[in-house]
């Protein structure tokens, strides 16, 4: 929707800003929703533009590790499923760009930030997908962590973001189940297949846990996001909740999680997991992960290779428009 233009931050708040802030505070206090045409603090607009566009970039880059396996899927059924899933990721990216755009930044600007390497996206997609079992581990652990993160975002205070998340969460549950079933089939297959499944789980466990973001005491933006009702639960809270779920699910798979410290703490009612390597997390975010360069290069290449499609569509629209006008003139 046509969004309000970005307002420069005035040194002194105007009468209008004060009234706007008061209305905004009331809406947040009522746990209601902010819509694109409402007044909102500049910092709220900026935070959301960053978060939603990063989320969109993650969906788009997230197509790559799995798309690489489409041609090598072990059966036609698996190939169809994988294609549908990758297509969903593209769709999720587009829902989110659509939501981000309502905040006033045009889509091609956001896209350009990604192509220029100036925008962040989820660190998990900078890890390689080495075997077919990784398609299982990605679906089960990566999409599982994404769902745990995204379900509370359906209630985010910014209307278009929450509505996009509702749509995404509905579609995401198939992603996790198909991954789980890939692992289940492998773990009940030959010893080599079971080993391959275990290896994939071993490699994706820690990076999946890191998807929830840094620990609470090292997450400076979390507090403000929670005050604005964008975020509903802290990173550590969501992470321990997710660990608890997969600790049970892994038993059904007949596999194990590579975490000697994993246990349920009766006293606090929380799951305890091993210390994660936050230096690695920071390195991957900063562009020094195993696949950062490759992922961005591939994205730039895909965008450049699509240029003729964009041009052809524009030319076609122009021609069709002219033909219509001629027809109308002749009649």
């Amino acid at each position: 929707m046509a969004a309000a233009p970005l307002q420069p931050v005035a040194a002194e708040a105007s009468e209008e800003d004060r009234a706007g802030q008061a209305a905004f505070d009331r809406i947040i206090a009522d746990d209601s929703r902010i819509e694109p045409t409402d007044w909102m603090p500049e910092a709220y607009r900026k935070t959301l533009t960053r978060q939603i566009s990063q989320h969109a970039h993650s969906e788009i880059i997230g197509m790559q590790p799995e798309a690489n396996w489409i041609t090598r899927a072990p059966s036609l059924k698996r190939k169809s499923i994988l294609m549908a899933k990758v297509q969903d990721e593209a769709g999720h990216g587009l829902y989110l760009y659509s939501a981000a755009e309502t905040l006033g930044t045009p889509r091609d600007v956001l896209n350009q930030q990604l192509l220029d390497g100036k925008a962040k996206y989820s660190s998990i997609f900078n890890y390689p997908a080495r075997s077919w079992a990784d398609m299982g581990a990605i679906g089960w652990l990566v999409d599982g962590a994404a769902i745990a993160n995204q379900v509370p975002l359906c209630r985010a205070s910014y209307g278009p973001y929450g509505r996009a998340m509702v749509r995404i969460c509905k579609e995401e549950s198939f992603h996790q189940r198909q991954g789980f079933e890939i692992l289940l089939e492998l773990s009940h297959g030959t010893p080599e297949q079971k080993k391959m499944a275990q290896d994939a789980v071993n490699r994706f466990y820690a990076p999946a846990l890191m998807m929830f973001g840094p620990p609470d005491d090292d997450s400076p933006n979390s507090k403000q996001s929670m005050a604005w009702n964008i975020k509903r639960f802290s990173n550590d809270e969501l992470r321990q909740r997710f660990v608890g779920m997969i600790a049970e699910q892994v038993k059904v798979l007949g596999l194990t999680l590579p975490d000697p410290e994993l246990r349920f703490d009766e006293e606090t009612g929380k799951w305890i997991h091993m210390e994660l390597d936050w230096q690695e997390f920071k390195d991957v975010i900063a562009g020094r992960g195993p696949c950062n360069a490759q992922r961005l290069e591939r994205r730039r290449e895909a965008h450049a290779n699509g240029a003729w499609v964009r041009e052809a569509a524009r030319a076609y629209a122009q021609k069709a428009g002219q033909r219509k006008m001629q027809k109308a003139g002749a009649a």
Partner: protein
């Protein structure tokens, strides 16, 4: 930040708002937006993007610019206050409660 898309053209396709009717008899509901060079391609893109799982039997696309929205700041004066107008609701009439078929 550079605003130069790769390739030689810089102008973006116009923005369209997408409305989907989930089944016959229901209204079209706003689903989101997308960019497309013209209405026909907007419709095709909308089908691919918003109805991958049989979510709709009909789609409308409307140029975003064509939508005029009410001013959110004018809430009080624009939308008539219901204050003091309870008589517009059936629940205002309590004496007839319990009377059948009324």
């Amino acid at each position: 930040m550079s605003n130069q898309p790769m390739g030689n053209q810089t102008n973006i396709w116009p923005l369209w708002e997408v409305f989907v009717r989930s089944s016959r008899g229901l209204s079209h509901v706003h689903a989101g937006s997308l960019h497309a060079p013209d209405a026909e391609m907007a419709l095709r893109n909308a089908r691919d993007l918003y109805t991958r799982r049989n979510e709709g039997v009909s789609i409308w696309v409307v140029p975003s610019e064509a939508i005029t929205a009410s001013d959110p700041d004018a809430k009080g004066s624009f939308f008539e206050s219901p204050q003091g107008k309870d008589y517009r609701h059936a629940t205002y009439y309590t004496k007839s409660e319990g009377v059948k078929h009324l």
